[in-house]
């Protein structure tokens, strides 16, 4: 009987070895591959993971390919190995890779809240030397800062977005309303549209960040850019009267029937559908949607021609001015802290950021985080206008849910939905968020 157990144990051990060998196979191969290339003429490999597959983001993909080709032909000793995943898979994989400490040398990340756990886990390298050196003054102010934690920058942004209020000129004309300058006028426009049976604003608040943008603008116009930022970075309080007043103003819009019927149950894409079908007059959305209103052939030409945008109206007596925007940088590049080719990776990132800035607007319709010269480029007028507004922006307030830690952002987003759904009063709205923020201090 005894020898049976011995055999069994042996067998289990054997099986475990087999399983482990199968799991480890990948990294074994990778490291041996590196050795080979290392001995054969000192070619270094930079692993680069990005999230623009050829199928769904063709223009992005092609720009990236072009930049890599150019870089490789300039640096014969460096090879860039690319892995591409789509957005959600990318985020999942990044999480898994970081738990096993196998991040690619260069990859993509998002700002502030997303970055935080990776930085606290010491996964990303500081990129301050690039910002001091080759990339000094290349970025629009406020963009690279969104990737800084405790004054160290861990990512370099590729995109920058602001949030214009898009509107349908044809609907405005039909109902005899003008583009409002002040919030009082804005409310009158809303009232007129409601009276005429037109839905004033398309909003899909199932996603919650969509409603958050409305609140952020009102907070900015009433309390100035500091009030919300200070509440979040804890130099101020969320119970600031301006932030309460912003919630009250938002509630007054809700009570007027300004937003698309059933907004709390509709996703952003569904709400956008209403705007595109000309069933709603206005739509507050990030500039990443610019191609929809300019170059996207799926939308009829007359529709695209009838779309204009305005800056969010000012509130009388409020602190905020018209040139202050809600927005923020989109994805950025990181370099892994434990990369074997850190110097090369940093050099590649710096090259990539610069080339991307030159090509992304024209080729992919992306507004880069680096400064753009619109002279001599052939862009739709709306791009040029938005770019000019950006250059003259007095302030860009980073999206609140991105500024906050994941747990507090969840409270904020829930409260936004509750405020829109009339489930909390403006006082409760600020109180809950103040509590959540205070708890994290």
């Amino acid at each position: 009987m005894k020898h049976v157990w011995k055999k069994l144990l042996l067998l289990i051990a054997f099986a475990i070895v087999l399983v482990l060998a199968a799991c480890g196979g990948d990294s074994d191969e990778a490291s041996s591959g590196e050795n080979e290339s290392g001995s054969g003429g000192d070619v270094k490999t930079i692993e680069f993971m990005h999230l623009w597959p050829e199928g769904s983001s063709k223009q992005h993909y092609e720009i990236v390919e072009g930049i890599i080709d150019e870089y490789e032909s300039n640096h014969s000793d460096v090879k860039v190995e690319v892995e591409i995943l789509s957005n959600e898979q990318y985020k999942e994989k990044l999480k898994v890779l970081s738990t096993s400490n196998e991040l690619p040398d260069v990859g993509m990340t998002w700002a502030a809240g997303f970055l935080e756990p990776y930085v606290s886990g010491n996964m990303f390298a500081s990129l301050d030397d690039l910002l001091e050196g080759p990339l000094k003054d290349k970025f629009v102010p406020g963009t690279a800062e969104a990737y800084a934690i405790d004054d160290t920058t861990y990512g370099l942004p590729l995109e920058l977005n602001i949030t214009p209020l898009f509107y349908n000129k044809a609907i405005f004309e039909e109902n005899g309303v003008e583009v409002p300058e002040t919030f009082e006028e804005f409310k009158q426009v809303v009232q007129t549209l409601v009276d005429n049976g037109v839905t004033p604003i398309a909003l899909g608040n199932k996603d919650r960040w969509t409603g958050s943008m409305w609140y952020m603008y009102l907070a900015d116009r009433i309390g100035g850019p500091q009030s919300l930022n200070n509440a979040i970075n804890r130099t101020g309080s969320f119970e600031d009267p301006a932030l309460v007043q912003a919630a009250e103003e938002l509630k007054s819009l809700v009570d007027m029937g300004a937003f698309l019927n059933g907004y709390n149950g509709l996703g952003n894409d569904e709400a956008k559908g209403y705007f595109i079908n000309e069933q709603a007059a206005m739509y507050l959305m990030g500039s990443w949607d610019l191609p929809e209103w300019t170059t996207n052939e799926d939308n009829p030409q007359e529709f695209r021609d009838s779309i204009g945008y305005m800056k969010f109206p000012v509130v009388e007596g409020g602190e905020g001015d018209k040139d202050s925007f809600v927005g923020g940088p989109g994805v950025g590049l990181f370099v892994a802290e434990n990369s074997d080719v850190k110097e090369e990776a940093k050099d590649f990132v710096s090259f990539f950021v610069e080339k991307w800035g030159e090509q992304s607007v024209e080729k992919a319709g992306v507004i880069p985080a680096t400064k753009v010269d619109t002279e001599g480029t052939d862009l739709p007028q709306m791009y040029v206008d938005v770019l000019n507004d950006l250059n003259q922006a007095s302030n860009i307030t980073l999206y609140a849910d991105v500024q906050m830690s994941a747990a507090v952002a969840e409270v904020h987003l829930d409260m936004i939905q509750a405020l829109f759904g009339d489930a909390v009063s403006p006082e409760e709205f600020v109180k809950e968020q103040e509590n959540a923020l205070a708890q994290e201090e």
Binding site: V4, L11, T99, G265, A407
Partner: protein, 292 residues
């Protein structure tokens, strides 16, 4: 051959691959989940052992109990709906014209993925352009509800979609069981003068009681861990009005990076499901199994 099969080492050899897979892929992760539930962990940085703190928080978390209530409501309605499915199956299994066509129609939802079903029902429930509200408005209802935005209605609106999604599954199970009943029993009852309702109630249903018990357990367990349709249709909103245990767990673990707490919820869910399954089996236990 017999000699080989009685050799314990050989038996072990044959069982081992399956055993490794089951332990490694099912029981191992389950225990790991319970273990992670004892940690404060954001999913990547270092774990801190906090004992049963997560479980204590869980018991005091009103949002968790709210979502648990929704899960149990779903289990309740799913179990109730089984009666409806059974009636449909009884009709379909009888010799009526077109039963074949209807069987196929009921089966269609099973062929669609949950995400597709969710999209379909989102369109049906669309407050302004949707099929349901267009119908209501054409019947003279002036302000029909916005189903998925109304905190009082959203849960039931989703339940309808879920019950529709699973109708085919249960109907097919019942249909197959009913078809297995020997024709002679039904014939004998007919000769004794029983009407179709009596035949269904007194003969057919008792004969498939074993299958019914299985479906009750399936419906309850499936409801308690239900996730996908709700996640796509509302994400648990608005304001948690359609949150269920599984979607709350996902939100905690993946949206707020609280893996410890998420794991605690998952483990708690496992225990609840085990208890409820055991209870259901106890309550529906009968002594004699039906033999044809």
């Amino acid at each position: 051959m017999n000699k080989v099969m009685s050799n314990k080492a050989v038996i072990a050899l044959y069982v081992l691959p399956a055993l490794i897979l089951i332990v490694g892929l099912i029981y191992g992760p389950m225990l790991l989940t319970g273990y992670y539930g004892l940690m404060e962990w954001n999913g990547m940085a270092t774990m801190t052992f906090v004992g049963i703190e997560n479980y204590i928080d869980l018991i005091q978390d009103p949002k968790f109990w709210e979502s648990a209530k929704h899960s149990f409501l779903l289990a309740f309605f799913s179990t109730l709906s089984l009666a409806g499915y059974l009636i449909v199956s009884l009709v379909l299994a009888g010799k009526i014209k077109g039963s074949d066509l209807f069987r196929k129609i009921y089966l269609i939802p099973m062929l669609l993925s949950s995400v597709a079903i969710a999209q379909l029902w989102i369109k049906i429930y669309d407050p302004n352009n949707g099929m349901l509200n267009s119908l209501l408005m054409s019947m003279g209802v002036e302000t029909p509800p916005s189903w998925l935005a109304d905190t009082n209605l959203v849960l039931y609106a989703i339940f309808v979609a879920i019950l529709w999604q699973y109708a085919g599954f249960y109907i097919i199970i019942y249909y197959a069981a009913l078809k297995g009943i020997p024709e002679s029993l039904v014939e004998a009852a007919k000769i004794d003068g029983a009407n179709p309702i009596q035949i269904a109630y007194k003969i057919k249903v008792p004969l498939i009681s074993g299958v019914i018990k299985v479906t009750v357990v399936l419906a309850i367990v499936g409801s308690l861990k239900y996730f996908d349709l709700i996640y796509v249709m509302t994400g648990g909103g608005p304001n948690g009005a359609s949150e269920v245990i599984a979607s709350y767990m996902y939100k905690k673990a993946f949206d707020t990076f609280d893996f410890g707490y998420g794991s605690a919820i998952a483990f708690f869910l496992l225990i609840i499901t085990l208890i409820v399954t055991w209870l259901t089996r106890k309550l529906t236990a009968t002594e004699d199994e039906v033999q044809y």
